[in-house]
Symmetry: C2
Amino acid sequence: MSKNYVIAIDLMGGDTAPLQTIKGVQIAQSRHPYVQFKLFGNKDIITRNLPDIDLSEYDFVHTDKVIRNEDKPSMAIRKSANTSMRLAIEEVAAGRAHAAVSAGNTGALMALSLLILRSIEGIKRPAICTMVPTRKGFCALLDMGATLNSDPSNFLEMAVMGNAFYESITGKRNNRIAILNIGMEDVKGHETLREASDLIKNSKINENFIGYVEPDNIFHGAADIVVTDGFTGNIFIKTCEALGKWLKEMLVSSFTSSLLSKLGALFASRSLKATMKILDPRGYNGAMFVGLNGVSVKSHGSTDAMGFSRALDVAILLVQSDINNKIQKKITELL
Amino acid sequence: MSKNYVIAIDLMGGDTAPLQTIKGVQIAQSRHPYVQFKLFGNKDIITRNLPDIDLSEYDFVHTDKVIRNEDKPSMAIRKSANTSMRLAIEEVAAGRAHAAVSAGNTGALMALSLLILRSIEGIKRPAICTMVPTRKGFCALLDMGATLNSDPSNFLEMAVMGNAFYESITGKRNNRIAILNIGMEDVKGHETLREASDLIKNSKINENFIGYVEPDNIFHGAADIVVTDGFTGNIFIKTCEALGKWLKEMLVSSFTSSLLSKLGALFASRSLKATMKILDPRGYNGAMFVGLNGVSVKSHGSTDAMGFSRALDVAILLVQSDINNKIQKKITELL
């Protein structure tokens, strides 16, 4: 059986590695038998965590070097030689893998991906892009934290990259692009947003631009692509995750507090499951660094095996949809 | 029966005025028999909406002028003479009322409050402060949108005002102050936040300062006062409201989708109610402009009577706790 794609995986990054990352690979492998997973990690730590594992069954490369969560990106890069994260990214740069996935240090993964894969010609600032669930499906949100102080030209770049990203993975054209703001009126927000809005209105992508959206509009599915600076995007997504986590806790405790409430949960279980699914961040795990010459996907650092397998799904989907060639083509057309 | 406090109310501001504002006054009056509500509004519109009302039973002042939601603050101020919003604020400035409450145009209410009440000596930028529910109770969050680009000195002012606000309404001392950021490590966030953090660390309020918090820490109750720039604060609170609204919809639809699920909801009703209450934004309605010589409270523009009555509760609580004298005292001590 020949494998059609190769995904390079940093097994050692994240709070739950390597136990959950390995198990995530096993889950993803069963879903994607034709994809080859190439694993980078520390043999000794892995066999200590999983005594029953036979690493010879995997395409596995041993390294005892790892980038830690606490390392500053600048320091992490200096000490990055032969780390599991760097080896995975280098595999993509060398053309031996189609995508790299890591649950490790976000800043380091971003910096190393940029250093090794380089940005696409014409892109000044790659951005972190993720999917946000809405009442109508999902939207693509960027930037999630690559550039904290985005300038108007970064917003235009993000609009173009987000458009290509959304089109690649959904196949839909005529997507609606919006800027996240604190109101929908033209006068709202600060100067950078108004300049960004003017810049997009006067660009080749202006027909897709629908103006500003507020958080409520996002969840109503008013836009397909939402662009924002990296600080605001990171606060937005972390607020969603944190509130979702709390509400999930409350619901679970509501339905386990008494025998009657347990019975209640049983009676309402099918419809309740849909709500719980929306509240499960594992379903949206896997953010992509868009704008690089190669696919680099970040998994949440504290996710479990199911969540990590979702990040692998995202990487495979992005490779299958030939995302980077499409972004490159859009950039040439539109910028 | 002599009334101990007077609250001046703009009956005409907001999407649900005057029907819900009047009804909100009626609800609040039954809770606070010793408080006098002085109402400003358009007699004709009110009697058209509520044919049975007898305005002679109220302390009511007629005006046919109103500030609309669409008016820009600068324009609203120019045309503000004798509007219900302005009259309510002027009542506070003249010493005839202890607080003003409006569900109208936020920008106009902010600008008019600042123009008429003036900021407290020593305060450069009044801020909008609101209560955010947490697993342990609530925290005070500011700024919610008065100053979009806050500088480090604004952060210090907010820390002092938030501290006084929290102490006034809870009676608790030794409150924990934090800055909202995208990570807890010292290196996280942009330059303004690091400078703000250094400034607070070197101020007289440094013992209360616990550093940075992320959204998840807020909901865990890690801080009593959380300071952020007005843009981020507004996005944070709107994200909470929007996601809460959606989840509430999903839950209601989960529990009304079938006979079995309705039965389930009945069985789990007590514990479910606690979750629904957390999701009900009316419970937290009423944001204060802190840093002014007078209490000015903003109600959500689209709330109902119950929500508006909560904003009146907040105004009364702030007056009872002598909030502005306490802020003034703290400012003198700490800045």
